[in-house]
Symmetry: C2
């Protein structure tokens, strides 16, 4: 099991959290997504490590940005 | 045709706008809902005047508050 934490900018409400969670959850191998709205911290748990580029693409698909 | 403008508090993003628009649009007789996110101004156009209580209920159903 692999766990990585990213920072997502632009989320302002629980609808935003739901959108980001939904897009990241669709990535193959992702088991869980936990979002802390105040900090933008997004923790992704997956069976195998997921390339950051895939996380970034999912976040952008939801309409937000990965920090850094 | 009747047009009234209300102020809704708590909307932070376009998802919030969509939720409020959807709930108010479901009220009988409502033809159009226009939301200005920065100010929270919500303009409702309807065939007949709509009781403020119905607007308030729809806004609260969406998870927001009518100011005043």
């Amino acid at each position: 099991m692999s766990e990585s934490t990213y920072t997502v900018t632009g989320m302002t409400c629980e609808h935003c959290v739901a959108s980001v969670t939904e897009e990241i959850s669709e990535i193959d191998g992702v088991n869980a997504v936990a979002v802390d709205l105040p900090t933008g911290a997004v923790t992704v748990t997956s069976t195998l490590p997921v390339a950051e580029a895939r996380i970034r693409a999912a976040v952008e698909e939801a309409g937000y940005q990965l920090a850094g």
